[in-house]
Amino acid sequence: MEHFTLSYTTTPRLQEGHLPRLCGVVASGNLEVLVEPLDAADLCLIEVNTSAPGFRVIWEALLSDFVERNQVGGVQISINDAGATPAVVGLRLDQALDAYRSGL
């Protein structure tokens, strides 16, 4: 297991009142992504729990691209990963954020 938290400063969130959203399942090669509101409106906090240690560089590259692309302020994202490939992680993050944004 490896655990770390990354924090990004972003464009502040525009709307309030989002509900937490959960996407995916913790199964081999898959992951669970929880997106929920955060008090600090210009912060994106991402907590990673992964069963596959040693890939922090890749996580950081992927997550900073994700934050830059989406500019999501005021959210906390929790990832429980069971060895998903970056492709699956990227897809799941997009799905979770999409569900979060559409679920005011």
Partner: protein, 553 residues
């Protein structure tokens, strides 16, 4: 001076030798029929030291009984063989080498035996002549590697020795034609001996002997992919392929490689592609084995014709019931032919798309890894520009225009796409600076790194990140960035020049899902026209009968 009386030129040495072999063999045969228990002695009688022996075996049908029987022969009599084989698939194929009866081997593919073969080569126990593509190997059967003895597999023989090879005809016609018409010995193992065959695939006078095998020849259901294992990433890549490549070029004639990536495309035709209005506009004519995952597209009316290299276990009744689609004899069963289908895939298809293990910065792709000599099979012929092609089609012409680099003479070109997830399981990157093929070539003393598809033949690379059109790249540097630009979070992908990739994106050379109007969220298993094997059975109206290992109900 009468030269011939002193040193007579003999023009029929091969047939004289063949007659002598048949005379020796006669002791163990009644006419052409050999009793099961006599086969080892017959092989000892007709095979001579140093013979080129072709053992029929592809990745589907195997002359497995004859292979096992060859293993029982006396190594002091049957020795120094030069084996010719499409595929080294069975343990027996390597056992005969380990017994010291083989000095040389020429083959095409060694899939499951790749590791053992590499070890034997390193120990110096076998010399590899060359590793070929299927078409190359068949071609050499007619030029400089003509078999003296061919050990083949058929479904049935009649009492005369006519053979029925049925749906899995595969390599048999090519092997038998080369052997029989150069005075060679053809020995067929058959599953049954019958009074009347459904049809004659190989006439008796091309056959020297036939023997009933104690068990039916092995056939591997190699092309069956259970839709239950198709991932959302594969669905996303299939959407990119359909919208960014198939629809873009209007590809009607094509070949799909083996694997889940292309199975996903097949299963998206009746859903995603139909919604895009592509029915009748793409994927109508195929060089393809009868993939069960193509059933929904056939039933939806997408597909007009399929010619096959071999058959697929469980598809027999479905194929028989769809003779307008498949190539079916008067008896109602399919006839496949690997040589013709390979030629068809090379010359008559506008697109090949397949998966690979590694792609380098020039776009060279390879499935070779160190310690495994796996060979090529058919992909290099499917996945290369047919430079002898002269007939035009819109897709071929457009690809030719895009890659023309201002050449004055108009010319078409084949579309060759590789479809890969950027990282495989265990985070093995699909994109690398240097192919493992280089190391393998060094360790096995090969003349060339075994490259499956050369970079200059590849036109498109599809990953979950997007699609790159290498035809449109102006320079080698652009090409490299176009590859890096879809290489995801591999070291190669992270090493991209972001500004250059953005420039390529502006010019439509690199396209991401959003550039194609694809919403990644739609990459959902609900898009699959069949979500499991049972759905495929339903789609076939109960005609498809999956092998036991694919039934979980």
């Amino acid at each position: 001076m009468n030269q011939s009386s002193e040193n007579p030129v003999m023009w029929d040495a091969l047939s004289r030798n063949s007659t002598a072999r048949l005379e020796r063999g006669a002791a163990f045969a009644r006419g052409r029929e050999v009793a099961t228990e006599d086969i080892t002695r017959l092989l000892e009688a007709v095979i001579e030291p140093g013979d080129r022996v072709c053992i029929e075996g592809n990745n589907q049908k195997q002359a497995d009984f004859l292979s096992r029987s060859l293993l029982k022969t006396d190594p002091s009599r049957v020795r120094d063989l030069h084996l010719l084989q499409s595929v080294l698939a069975l343990p027996e194929h390597l056992d005969i080498i380990e017994r010291g009866q083989v000095s040389r081997i020429d083959f095409s593919f060694s899939g499951p035996q790749a590791g053992r073969l590499a070890a034997l080569v390193e120990q110096g126990r076998i010399t590899i002549g060359a590793i070929h593509t299927y078409l190359e190997l068949f071609s050499r059967y007619f030029i400089d590697l003509t078999p003296r003895v061919a050990l083949i597999a058929a479904q049935a023989a009649d009492r005369e020795g006519n053979l029925y090879t049925g749906p899995n005809t595969e390599d048999t016609p090519a092997i038998v034609e080369a052997t029989a018409f150069k005075s060679g010995i053809v020995i067929a193992q058959v599953n049954e001996v019958v009074d009347k065959l459904p049809r004659v695939d190989i006439p008796a006078d091309w056959v020297s002997y036939f023997v009933k095998a104690p068990t039916p020849h092995h056939i591997e259901p190699l092309f069956t992919r259970d839709p239950a294992h198709i991932t959302e990433i594969q669905i996303l890549m299939a959407m990119i392929a359909i919208k960014g490549l198939y629809a873009e070029y209007g590809i009607t004639r094509l070949n799909h490689g083996i694997g889940f990536d292309t199975a996903a495309i097949e299963l998206l035709l009746p859903t995603y592609a139909a919604e895009l209005g592509l029915k009748g506009k793409i994927c109508t004519h195929w060089a393809l084995n009868p993939h069960p995952t193509l059933i929904p597209a056939i039933e939806a009316g997408f597909v007009k014709s399929v010619h096959s290299f071999g058959s697929e276990v469980g598809m027999e009744r479905y194929i028989s019931a769809r003779p307008d689609i498949f190539f079916v004899g008067n008896d109602g069963s399919m006839r496949s032919n690997r040589a013709f289908s390979q030629a068809a895939g090379h010359y008559a298809c506008d697109l090949f798309i397949g998966s690979t293990l590694q792609i380098d910065l020039e776009g060279n792709s390879s499935t070779a890894t160190k310690g495994r000599i796996s060979g090529f099979g058919g992909a290099p012929n499917m996945g290369s520009d047919a430079r002898g092609r002269r007939h035009a089609s819109p897709a071929w012409l457009r690809a030719g225009r895009e890659g023309s680099r201002n050449r004055a003479m108009p010319r078409g070109r084949k579309l060759v796409a590789q479809i890969v997830e950027t990282n495989r399981e265990q985070m093995q990157p699909a994109f690398v600076e240097r192919l493992d093929a280089w190391e393998l070539a060094e360790s096995a003393g090969m003349e060339l790194p075994p490259v499956m598809i050369y970079g200059d033949d590849i036109t498109h690379i599809i990953t979950e990140e997007g699609i790159s059109n290498l035809l449109l790249c102006e320079t080698a540097e652009e090409r490299e960035q176009a590859i890096r630009g879809v290489a995801g979070y591999t070291a190669v992908g992270m090493g991209r020049d972001r500004r250059m990739v953005e420039n390529l994106r502006d010019r439509g050379i690199v396209r991401y899902p959003e550039d194609l109007g694809i919403n990644k969220r739609d990459a959902n298993r609900d898009l699959l026209a069949a979500r499991n094997i049972k759905d495929l059975v339903h789609a076939s109206g109960g005609l498809y009968s999956p092998p036991r290992q694919f039934r979980n109900w």
